[in-house]
Assembly symmetry: C2
Homo-oligomer: 137 residues x 2
Amino acid sequence: MSAMSDETPVLDAIRFTPDGLVPAIAQQHDTGEVLMMAWMTRETIAETLQTGHVCYWSRSRGKPWRKGETSGQVQTLKALRVDCDGDTLLLLVNQVGVACHTGRRTCFYREAGDGGALTEILAPEADPEALYGHKAP
Amino acid sequence: MSAMSDETPVLDAIRFTPDGLVPAIAQQHDTGEVLMMAWMTRETIAETLQTGHVCYWSRSRGKPWRKGETSGQVQTLKALRVDCDGDTLLLLVNQVGVACHTGRRTCFYREAGDGGALTEILAPEADPEALYGHKAP
């Protein structure tokens, strides 16, 4: 893809938080599944546009989070969209395997039912221990 | 739907920010379109579950934002999902008309193209002036 300097118009349209972050929703480009929401910085957006592989910012680890680097469950970028007020991104991706660290296709696997109970609506497809070498929390 | 006290299990599974907020993604339940992202509080989630009409929290106005109250473009709740770490919601909704204050179906109508330019990929379906009685910013 294009060089970093060329990404400036997109990057300048984004309104980052005071911490320099912007939320990014990942959606499977062909099925429409909403896979996850994570955070990006100006630098990880530029890297994502350059490489075509989605790189988030890990708030807990305080460093770039190249999705799938450990697990192999990478996200290839198909399109990057910016919302009307520039404070949220929508990434259309091709998700290899599962998006969720629990081994499920999507992180949104719990649904509110009648009476306010949360029900799991999706089973793991992959063993988190196999993906990461340890059990998911 | 059920009474507020019954919603406690769902509400207790959510990890709110220090400001008491949680991001909520709205997705059209049948087409899979990602319509918008906004913020909710414990109280607006409880109200949404009770009434079946989506109520966000307006950070700019500092009060509940009953989606469509002014414009008529309401969102009926079909399902509420919570992600793996409890810090993001996915609302499956039925969106009447358009979700975006610019008159477009979705807020994500700008896409990054080659060279980093942002291109509008969706035209307005409704006149913002007719929806709100004034031009959208």
